[in-house]
């Protein structure tokens, strides 16, 4: 003992320095992300069931910034905390999405994807309802200063989505500008059963849409607005999933530009029954996003 604790030889001090360095490094990595508010200026509105955010997880943040910036005019505000790189996506200075740099887990074949965030008032209550209706919790509820509280679930068929109780209220209901998210859809094996799940969690009104394409189409609405759809999983697709749509002025032109920027077109532009063209593109890292033309001269009567 006398040797071990002999202060003149400082046997513990090297170890202490190493321990201090390790602790500081790990603590820095654990610092919470300081995320911007979803609504800026803050809103007093709450729209449970509305898609209010999307996050892309990507193994190459730089490549995706170049792609999406070139395609939609997005700009980016990078947040670096510890070992996390997160870019806030801005459209005309307004935050509309995020991109998280993260390596694909070693040995796993995974596909980068946009994660759909749906507004709730109480994340923990939504968690309980989701579990009781067959969902799986992928990330437990967690609060981020500025952003709010969020969690990630897989619905009973396995489609992944997130819920978010925005600390700054939900964005008002306006028509999306070109370059902004305009629509979201989930593709499921049993759309009607899935609709029952989402209705239970978010309180949606559910509408079946008659169709002659051999698929089932269900519209989910809240506040008298259509919020999302559930469609029959297309042939050759095995994994139920969400897909988000960005409003563009010209789908054909956007698709060509996506290819020029290193992306791929996986659903060629086609005219949907409402007259606008739709296409699905895949970014350089493999994440899918849909683009949609939408005329602002529709006949919707605004709710009072």
């Amino acid at each position: 003992m006398s040797v071990l604790f002999d202060r003149t030889r400082h046997p513990l001090r090297g170890l202490l320095a190493l321990l201090a360095l390790t602790t500081c490094s790990v603590a820095l990595a654990a610092l919470p992300l300081d995320l911007p508010p979803v609504s800026n200026p803050a809103s007093t509105e709450h729209h449970p069931g509305k898609v209010i955010w999307a996050d892309l997880v990507t193994p190459n943040l730089g490549a995706d910034e170049s792609f999406y910036g070139g395609l939609f005019g997005w700009t980016f505000q990078t947040i670096h905390t510890g070992d996390t790189d997160y870019a806030v996506v801005l459209l005309d200075g307004r935050p509309i999405a995020g991109m998280l740099q993260k390596a694909i887990p070693a040995g796993e074949k995974r596909r980068p994807a946009w994660l759909t965030f749906i507004a709730v008032r109480d994340v923990d209550a939504a968690r309980g309802i989701a579990i009781s209706h067959g969902a799986k919790i992928l990330s437990e509820p967690k609060t981020y200063a500025g952003r709010g509280r969020q969690a990630v679930f897989a619905d009973p068929e396995g489609a992944v989505f997130a819920v978010l109780a925005s600390a700054s209220g939900d964005p008002p209901d306006f028509l999306a500008a070109p370059g902004d998210w305009i629509w979201s859809a989930s593709f499921e094996r049993e759309p009607k059963q899935s609709a029952a799940f989402y209705k239970a969690v978010f309180g949606y009104d559910v509408f079946d849409v008659p169709s002659d394409d051999g698929a089932e189409h269900v519209i989910l609405s809240s506040d008298d607005y259509a919020r999302a759809a559930i469609h029959t999983l297309p042939p050759a697709h095995r994994q139920p999933h969400w897909l988000n749509f960005i409003r563009v002025l010209d789908t054909v032109e956007t698709s060509a530009k996506a290819v020029a920027l290193g992306g791929r077109v996986v659903v060629e532009p086609y005219v949907d029954r409402h007259g606008g063209k739709i296409a699905v593109i895949v970014d350089p890292t493999g994440a899918a996003v849909a683009v949609l033309e939408w005329s602002d001269t529709d006949t919707k009567v605004e709710p009072k």
Partner: protein, 96 residues
């Protein structure tokens, strides 16, 4: 050996170890399975790999409903009798 014989380094080492364990819990945190990105942020998720995505086309209607387009088609869901689905918001930003 008495307590007095312990040097201050032992106490510091104990505190650092405690801090390290606490920080590790913060880093690993929730998630980390099924493709979730559990390091510090719960918003990232890698989907299961698919060799080819897409492939559908004309006739597979996935756009949002237009106001008035569906009202006469009936409703076979749990909203029966109230007509078709509403559309997406149409007001431009800044209009109330």
């Amino acid at each position: 050996m008495s307590v007095k014989s312990l040097p201050w380094e032992v106490g510091v080492a104990g505190l650092l170890l405690l801090g390290l364990v606490t920080a590790c819990v913060g880093v690993v945190g929730p998630g980390g399975s099924d493709g979730t990105v559990g390091v510090g942020y719960v918003g990232g998720y890698y989907e299961p790999y698919v060799a080819t995505y897409g492939g559908w086309g004309r006739g597979y209607n996935v756009a949002p409903p237009r106001g008035g387009d569906h009202g006469d088609h009936g409703d076979h869901g749990d909203h029966g009798g109230r007509g078709g689905p509403p559309s997406i918001p149409s007001r431009p930003p800044g209009h109330h």
